[in-house]
Amino acid sequence: MTEPVVSVRDLVADLGREAEATRVLGGVSFAVGAGEIVALVGESGSGKSTIGKALQGLLPQDAVRHLSGSVRIDGTEVIGADPRTLRDVRRRLVRAVPQNPMGALNPTMTIGRQLAESGAARDDAETWLARTGLPDPRRILAAYPHRLSGGQRQRVMIAMAMVARPRLLIADEPTTALDVTVQAQILDLVASLRSEGTGVLFVTHDLGIAAGLANRILVCHRGQIVEDGPAAQVIRAPRAAYSRALLRARFDLSTDRSRPLPTAGTAEIAPWPPVAKGKSWALELYRVVKHFPAGPRGRWGRRQPVRVLDGIDLRIAAGECVALVGESGSGKSTLLRIAAGLETADAGDVSRSGSVPPQVVFQDAVGALTPWLPIGAQIGEGLPRDTRDTCIAEALREVGLDPALAAALPSELSGGQCQRACVARALIRKPSVLLCDEPISAMDVSLAAQVLNLLNDIRRRAGLGMLFVTHDLAAARLIADRIAVLDKGRLVEEGPSEEVVTSPRAAYTEQLLAAVPRLSREGLA
């Protein structure tokens, strides 16, 4: 390896408000060479984002209780440097690409001015916008951010970072907020930066992405680097137990779907028992059409209607799980809301079996719980008083939570426990249909695997009809019997999961499949 552009030695950071300080980084050491892509892999709370902020000197000042060690970027020491030096480091040496590009550009400033502020001459700005694959850079320079899509904004962010010719580029989960097809393009773009001689620190929770992109992989766990090695070696023969656990929890399009996913502590796993599918339909959607007022404004300021769902036919049998896969703006969440009765269709029919309306499990489990009510009270809301407590205890046990947690507030639970509580709240009404709106997309892999197992187990045991809305084909294939692919308000493909994944008929499905990151261990050898 050439002279490293960044060398981090014994970086220790305690963060917290007032007296409560937690050791977020406990002696981190690593280096990034020029033109090298290093992936920093870890789950949420592992400290990986803190490392990125520390390298930029952008840790929130009032939260830093202790910071020691050394971060040298191109010979300049960052730890303990004065604000002026830090600004200079940020301007010349280290740039960052954010997790969510949607909010990262100033909405009231043109792209051109924001690039100029970043130190770009006009020609330079145009060149870099073109290099990131943006069509018509001149038009983009004059545009305001809201005219651009998420993928385009992330390209602008990358161009904005690269015009400064930094020695190090920190990309903190730059693709998690983007659609899968866009994600693949952005990853290609990051890979192409290698030739610029800029070192890239790519922060991610997904080993698959890391394996496909990076020269080296660092695995971060509880503020420590537990593994540091060439990407192929870390994937093929991980040394640390934690790396092995991360690899085992990971699922993709080739994971065994006949049995529950392996989670921590499980050795031998029995396959799923066959489901006795009901003969009746639990949920039927017939030619559902929905418009939203989102088009250009008319004379009186009213927006023209735009068709978001265009004649959707979808049927789910009792005990069957159907995954609805699509990218943002495809109309998949609207369809779920119509099935739930939260939204009414403009045309078409929705019929459900049973007297209990379908229950919904939302993406943001913590936000779906009222913060000041105990879990039990929220689960048992509206049940008859005499049997309420036993019902709550039973529902909590069913989702794998201790019944004693009924008295706890949502803030005392972890994110995974909150999602389990939400499932319990949905199940206690004994619905015939469960609607899941991206229930695992905000979760780390090991947690996502647990929740997938739980949902799969419950619908098999209770004979529930389940609609599983997701953008992730790998998760869809694991949980669902059938996959329906939604593109711009139309169902472009529908069929048995394995068939859709192995031999897709629609071009759009192929595109989605190609974009799913894979851990091809053979390819790395």
Partner: protein
């Protein structure tokens, strides 16, 4: 834009119409008799009755109201009971002085709000700025007006404490002394008019500055936590540039709305301030008209205030739209 202006024009007429209904209803409820006010307390009952007939006060209220609306459409607001002049003429005479005062108070208040908000942002964790704002916001206007007079006129004699100008017989085309002085090239007039403006404008500006300043400070507080502020810091920009270039424009909308709302409150304060500083504007006219239950005059002032309020808030909405490229009228 055309649609927006059409909708707002419709709203404009609707609000003014509601003002006329309210004031007319008041007229029917208040036991004041304009005929008695015109003829004087010593006049015989027959005279009063004759005047009542002339004024049309014996007609049913709806008929009086329709007649009033018809006159209003022709620009006739009736005759003031107190000044015996057409109300429209009185309004034309006093409006420029009030517009000048309100304009000065708006500019001064906005400037103070900016200073307060930036002071609170940049002097982080300073309780002093918050305390100052709280104190300034809690002083009632009649007290602050009198304190200003006492301190800067009576005790220090730095600034004049009453009237619009210290020069006799000055008339200009616009009616605003400062602008007229500039137009006619009279620095003495401009100087004297500005000196007279300072204290009443400051009294009106204080509550405005506190309300708008707090709104701006909290909007800035949120904006500077947005990811794009972090992006700006990531480019190595110093904090003051992050605040000025990325903060202010994005935080402009809530304080601008607050500015529009504050104009309504300022009209109420205008009565006290113009009375205290002997400022010959609509507020003083209103105080005097109220004292002599001069309902046509009160109605005229209410309509004028209503119109100015709506126009100003329309301007605020347009400025908000210009500030945020995502918004469309």
């Amino acid at each position: 834009m055309t649609g927006y202006l059409l909708r707002r024009a419709l709203g404009f007429v609707l609000v003014l119409w509601m003002v006329t209904v309210i004031v007319f209803a008041l007229q029917a409820i208040i036991p004041a008799d304009p005929a008695r006010a015109i003829t004087g307390p010593a006049a015989p009952a027959e005279t009063v009755e004759r005047v009542r007939g002339q004024l049309g006060l014996n007609d049913p209220i709806p008929q009086q109201y329709v007649r009033f609306l018809g006159n209003l459409a022709r620009g006739d607001l009736g005759t003031s009971v107190r000044t015996r002049q057409p109300v429209a003429d009185d309004l034309r005479r006093y409006l420029p002085a009030t517009l000048e005062l309100v304009g000065a108070a708006m500019i001064l208040g906005t400037a103070l709000a900016l200073v307060l908000a930036l002071a609170q942002m940049l002097l982080a964790r300073s309780g002093a700025v918050r305390m100052t704002m709280l104190a300034a916001g809690s002083v009632p206007i009649f007290l602050s007006a009198m304190l200003l007079i006492y301190l800067f006129w009576f005790s220090l004699d730095w600034l004049p404490g009453a009237g619009r100008i210290g020069i006799r017989r000055f008339e200009g085309p616009t009616g605003s002394m400062v602008i007229d002085g500039i137009l006619l090239g009279r620095p003495d007039v401009v100087g004297s008019a500005l000196a007279h403006l300072v204290l009443p404008a400051l009294a009106l500006a204080l509550p405005l500055a506190v309300a708008v300043g707090r709104s701006l400070a909290s909007a800035l507080h949120d904006v500077l936590r947005q990811p794009y502020a972090e992006t700006a810091r990531g480019k190595g920009l110093p904090e003051y540039r992050v605040v000025l270039r990325h903060g202010l424009r994005n935080a402009a909308s809530p304080p601008l709305s607050m500015l529009g709302l504050q104009l309504g409150l300022m009209f109420g304060n205008l009565l006290i301030v113009e009375r205290t500083f002997a400022w010959p504007g609509l507020g003083l006219y209103m105080v005097q008209s109220l004292a002599s239950s001069d309902l046509p005059a009160v109605l005229g002032v209410a309509l004028t205030f209503g119109a100015v309020y709506i126009l100003f808030n329309m301007a605020v909405e347009i400025v908000q739209t210009l500030a945020d490229p995502r918004m469309k009228l």
